[in-house]
Symmetry: C2
């Protein structure tokens, strides 16, 4: 495998309350130099939750996505708070966003979003053995809860409002895991 590029210089070029942009001067192993930009966000990563109820339906939420200026249908997700592990964060977010807790939570895999210019990492968590319990979160309005049969995922994937790549990936991974009997 090729040796990683050498990082010649890393400079913070702009930042806001939530985002930090870095400029990155790189020298590739063939001698070519390039200046890239990337986003840095601090924090402990994030979780996305595939929660399946006893009717074999997955819990979806409809929420306002500021990046698109649209309501979208997606999986519950959120940041891991300081001191939390991924399973704790997943159980908290599920109760805040969907009004359900889970007695069984397992890690499926880590996903990235746009690794060329973002270091963000998201843990896909499978939640089962659900119970109704609502926790207050920081949502500006209650999220609409939608349940969807796990055996009709490809109909869901055809909906324009279910567009988030990581959510489609998470459901494919979980569907395969369950079908393999793990």
């Amino acid at each position: 495998m090729t040796a990683k590029p050498e990082i010649l210089k890393l400079t913070k070029v702009a930042s806001s309350r939530l985002f930090h942009i870095e400029s990155m001067e790189l020298r590739f192993s063939n001698g070519v130099e390039r200046c890239y930009e990337r986003l840095r966000t601090g924090g402990n990563g994030a979780v996305m939750i595939v929660a399946i109820n006893d009717r074999d339906e997955v819990l979806l939420v409809r929420e306002y996505a500021a990046g698109l200026e649209e309501y979208v249908l997606t999986l519950p997700k959120g940041l891991i708070d300081p001191g939390e592990d991924a399973a704790t964060a997943a159980n908290r977010e599920l109760q805040e966003e969907a009004g359900f807790g889970a007695r069984q939570i397992e890690h499926v895999r880590q996903l990235t979003a746009a690794p060329n210019y973002m270091g963000h990492r998201l843990e896909v968590m499978l939640a089962r053995d659900l119970f109704a319990n609502k926790l207050e979160g920081d949502e500006p309005e209650p999220l609409e809860l939608v349940t969807w049969p796990m055996n009709q995922l490809h109909e869901l994937f055809e909906l324009p409002e279910f567009s988030e790549g990581r959510a489609i990936a998470a459901l494919c991974l979980v569907e395969h895991r369950l079908r393999s009997g793990r």
Copy 2:
């Protein structure tokens, strides 16, 4: 469906060569006001290409991902240049990154990455009937080409270096489309 929040104010708060950060003051339909931040990038969107050769293998590339500071395995992808449509951009990127053109290209679906704070849209394109042809791109070094059997996708999805949610989603969508005989 809930009425969209009213955008009270949109302010550019920071920007760099590639990124523009906006602050967004919103009033939700229940009267709650919130200030969000989001990324704006201009441009015409991007394409991600699932190119399948006559041995029923998908073409992958290994490239340096500055956000992760790692080499990753992913699908060929890139921005749509001004004046290009998605199919033209896909055919160009495939020749630049993987050294193959395609006589048949079709649109599969649009994906988003992190719609809560990014408006980025990516078109998944299925490329078939391939022919060897290398175009010079803007890559700092040649990308390593890896071919992977389409009937072993879940083995690919277990590799830590194949982590991009949109790439896993794209392959799941294409695999389903081909299996359905479309």
